[in-house]
Amino acid sequence: MLVNVRGCDSYAYTGSRAFDPALPTIVFVHGAANDHGVWALQSRYFAHHGHNVLAVDLPGHGRSGGEALPSVAAIADWLVAFLDAMRVERAILVGHSMGALAALDMAGKHPGRVAKLALLGAAVPMPVSEMLLDAAKQNDHVAFELINGWSFSPGDHLGGNRLPGVWMTGNAMRLMERSRPGVLHTDLLACNGYADGLTAAAEICGPVLLLLGQRDQMAPAKNSSALIAALTNKRVVTIADCGHSLMTEAPDDVLDALREFLPPR
C-alpha cells in the first residue's frame, strides 16, 4: 500500500491483507540499501496470523519516494510520522541493522508508541569501515561486494538456501544494485554516525528481543554487549552459524524467535 507521509508517497508491504485498525500492528524496518523484500517470509507470516503488517520502504528506498534520510534520528522521526499517517498510536517495531538502530531510537524517544521492540543484527555503536564508506561514496560496485562478503556466514556464501531455488548472495546483490545512487552512502553514514543508541536503550522499559548472528561480520555479536547491558527488559537470541543476513540465512530461526516474542493470534 502507498501512504502519504509528509507529502510523499511511501510504500508498505502488507502481506496482501487490508489494514484492520482492530489488530495489533507490526512495522518492519529494513537496513541499508534494502527494502521491504528482506522480510518476505516473516512479514507474510504475521500478516496471516492476526496482525497488521507494515513492512516499509524507507524514503528513497524501494517503492517509496523522497530522499534517503541522513541520520538514524531522522529515520526514527519518519517512523513516527508514518505511524501518524497510518493512525496507529502504538506499534510493534522490528528492525534489521540500520532499521534496528532507527527502531531503537524511536522507541527510546517515544516509548509510549512502541509496544515491543525486536532488533536484528544490531550493534551500538555500528561503525562502518572507511573502505566501505569510500566505495559507497563513489557509488562503486565494490561497496555492494564488500557488504555481501561480510553479510553472509562463510557456509552461506556457497548457498544451501532454505528457500528453494534462490541464490542468496545473488539475490542480495541485485537488491542492493537497485538502490538509487548515493543511497547506500547516506545509509552507511547514518549508521556510522549514530551515537545515541545506549541513551535510547536506557529509556526503553518495554520488552526487547535482540536477534544476533553468531558469524555476523557487519555488526559482530560482540559489539552488541553494550546495547544488551543498557536494556532492562530484554531477551537475547544468538543464531548459530548465521551472518548479518539473518532473515535470509535463518528464516525459520528468525520466525520462531519472533513468534515466541510476538505470539500469533
Binding site: 508491504y13 496482501s16 527494502d35 521491504h36 523484500g37 518476505a40 517470509l41 516473516q42 507474510r44 507470516y45 496471516h48 524501494g62 517503492r63 573502505m131 569510500d134 566505495a135 562503486d140 565494490v142 561486494e145 564488500l146 562478503g149 557456509g155 556464501h157 556457497l158 548457498g159 544451501g160 538456501n161 532454505r162 528457500l163 528453494p164 531455488g165 534462490v166 541464490w167 545473488g170 539475490n171 541485485r174 537488491l175 544494485e177 537497485r178 528464516p251 525459520d252 520466525l255
Partner: protein, 435 residues
C-alpha cells in the same frame, strides 16, 4: 580499489547450492527421491503452503535435490534463482506463460532450435500468443516487429544451426527501451562461454540435457531469473505484466512484484507455472545434471579445443564447400563473437559438402565415431542432417533464411581424441566423394 574475494566459477561448479547432508554427512548431494515432505505440525504445514516459511511440500513445486541444482545454475549464471523443469522446452514454455496470456506477442530470432520454432509458430497461436520471427542480425527488424502487445524478445546465444551470434547487449538495450525483457536460450554456450545476464539479458534458460549434463542420459531444463528487470517501471514496463504486478487470485491475491523486488518472475513461475502446468524435474535427473556440471569447465574447454581442430581440418578440405563457425574470419559474426565469446564459440557447428543429397547421406553413414542422432552437447561426438530431421517442419523459405541447405550437416563435437575425430571425418568425406 581492491575488489573483495568471491568464489570463482570453477569452484562454484562443484559447490554452489550444496552442503554435506545434515542428516547423514553424505558429501555428494543426496537424491531426495520423495514425492512429499512431512510437516512438523499443522501450523508448519499452513505456513509452508502460504509462503511464510521456507521448505519443501511436494516435489512438483520444489525438491531438495532440484533446489541444489537451481542454486548452482543461478550462481554460475549470476542470477537470483532458478527453476528446474522437465526439459528445455518446458523452460521456454514456463517463461512465456509466466509473463503473458492470450493477446500477447513475442519477437523472436528466426534462427531457433526447431522445437522452439514449433512452439512459437504453430502451437502458441492456438492459445492467442503470436510471434514475429526476425533476422537476429538485423536490429531494425527487431525494432520494427515490436508491437504494443509485445511482451518478450527471445533468441539463442548461438543460433541453430547457423551459429548466428546474438548481439545480446544491443538486443537487450532495444528490449529495455520498450520496457520488455530479453529471454535467451543459452544451451549452446553454457555459462562457461557466455553469461548473458552480464550482457543485459533478463531471463536465461538451458536445455540441461546438453552441455550442462554432458553425458546425454537425462532430459531436463533450467530457467534462470537475472533479477534486474523492473516489471512495473512507469512509462516503460508498467501495465504490461499483470501476472506479476496485479493481485493473483490463485495465491491469496499475492502481487508477486511486491512480494519480491528481485525475484517476482521466479515466484510466479513456481507458484503458478510449475504448480499448475506441472512440468517439474525428477530429483534423479537433477542429481545427474549436477554430476555433469561438476566438470563443466574442463569439458567445455575440451569441446572448444576439439572443435577448433575439426573446423580447421574441414575448412581446408577440398570436398567441403563451407564451414560455419564464428571463429572463422569469413563468418558474418566473427567480430561480435570475439567480443561476446572470447573463450570460444561452442562445439556445435554446421558445414556443407560439395555433393548431392545422396553423397551427404553416404557421408553420415560412413562415420564410425560420430553418432547419427538428434541431440547436441554429449561427451560423444554427434552428427545430423538438419533439413530432414530437426528442421523438417520449417518451410523451404525459412530454411534458406536460416542458412540451411540440403547439404548442410551439423556436428556436435565431443571429448574424444581430436585426431580420431579428424580421421573419422576424413574417411567419411573420402567415401562420400567417391560415391
Amino acid at each position: 580499489m581492491t575488489k573483495p574475494k568471491t568464489t570463482r566459477f570453477d569452484t562454484l561448479t562443484l559447490h554452489a547450492g550444496a552442503r554435506p547432508d545434515p542428516a547423514t554427512g553424505a558429501r555428494a548431494t543426496p537424491i531426495y527421491q520423495s514425492a512429499s515432505f512431512v510437516f512438523r505440525d499443522s501450523d508448519h504445514a499452513a505456513a509452508l503452503f502460504n509462503m511464510e516459511r521456507a521448505g519443501h511440500v511436494y516435489s512438483r513445486i520444489s525438491n531438495p535435490t532440484c533446489a541444489v541444482l537451481e542454486e548452482r545454475i543461478s550462481a554460475l549464471e549470476g542470477g537470483v534463482g532458478a527453476i528446474a523443469v522437465a526439459s528445455g522446452q518446458a523452460a521456454l514454455h514456463l517463461a512465456i506463460v509466466s509473463l503473458m496470456g492470450a493477446g500477447s506477442h513475442i519477437v523472436a530470432s528466426r534462427s531457433l532450435y526447431g522445437g522452439s520454432h514449433n512452439l512459437l509458430e504453430f502451437t502458441l497461436p492456438r492459445f492467442g500468443v503470436d510471434t514475429t520471427f526476425v533476422d537476429p542480425r538485423d536490429l531494425d527488424a527487431w525494432r520494427r516487429a515490436i508491437r504494443p502487445t509485445t511482451r518478450l524478445l527471445f533468441g539463442e546465444t548461438l543460433g541453430n544451426p547457423g551459429l548466428e551470434v546474438l548481439d545480446v547487449p544491443r538486443v537487450a538495450e532495444l528490449a529495455h527501451e520498450h520496457g520488455l525483457p530479453l529471454l535467451v536460450d543459452s544451451t549452446f554456450t553454457t555459462p562457461y562461454l557466455m553469461r548473458p545476464f552480464e550482457l543485459g539479458a533478463d531471463l536465461v534458460y538451458h536445455s540441461a540435457t546438453k552441455f550442462l549434463s554432458g553425458h546425454g542420459v537425462v532430459i531436463g531444463g533450467l530457467l534462470v531469473d537475472g533479477g534486474r528487470f523492473v516489471w512495473d517501471e512507469p512509462g516503460k514496463s508498467a501495465g504490461k505484466f499483470p501476472t506479476l504486478t496485479e493481485p493473483y487470485a490463485g495465491f491469496h491475491d499475492m502481487v508477486f512484484a511486491e512480494e519480491s523486488t528481485t525475484a517476482a518472475f521466479l515466484l510466479r513461475a513456481r507458484r503458478e507455472g510449475i504448480r499448475d502446468f506441472g512440468a517439474c524435474m525428477a530429483p534423479m535427473t537433477a542429481f545427474q545434471i549436477l554430476q555433469g556440471i561438476e566438470t563443466l569447465p574442463l569439458r567445455m574447454q575440451r569441446h572448444v579445443d576439439n572443435t577448433r581442430k575439426i573446423v580447421a581440418f574441414l575448412a581446408a578440405h577440398p570436398f567441403v564447400e563451407a564451414v560455419g563457425y564464428p571463429e572463422l574470419p569469413q563468418h558474418p559474426d566473427h567480430v561480435l563473437a570475439q567480443a561476446l565469446l572470447p573463450r570460444g564459440c561452442g562445439a556445435v557447428f554446421s558445414f556443407s559438402i560439395r555433393g548431392t543429397r545422396d553423397q551427404g547421406r553416404r557421408f553420415i553413414e560412413s562415420l564410425r565415431i560420430f553418432s547419427h542422432l538428434a541431440n547436441v552437447g554429449d561427451a560423444k561426438s554427434l552428427v545430423i542432417h538438419p533439413a530432414s530431421t530437426t528442421h523438417f517442419r520449417v518451410s523451404a523459405e525459412d530454411l534458406r533464411a536460416a542458412g540451411i541447405t540440403e547439404g548442410t550437416i551439423r556436428l556436435s563435437v565431443g571429448l574424444e581424441d581430436p585426431d580420431d575425430l579428424v580421421e573419422d571425418l576424413g574417411r567419411a568425406l573420402y567415401a562420400a566423394e567417391k560415391a
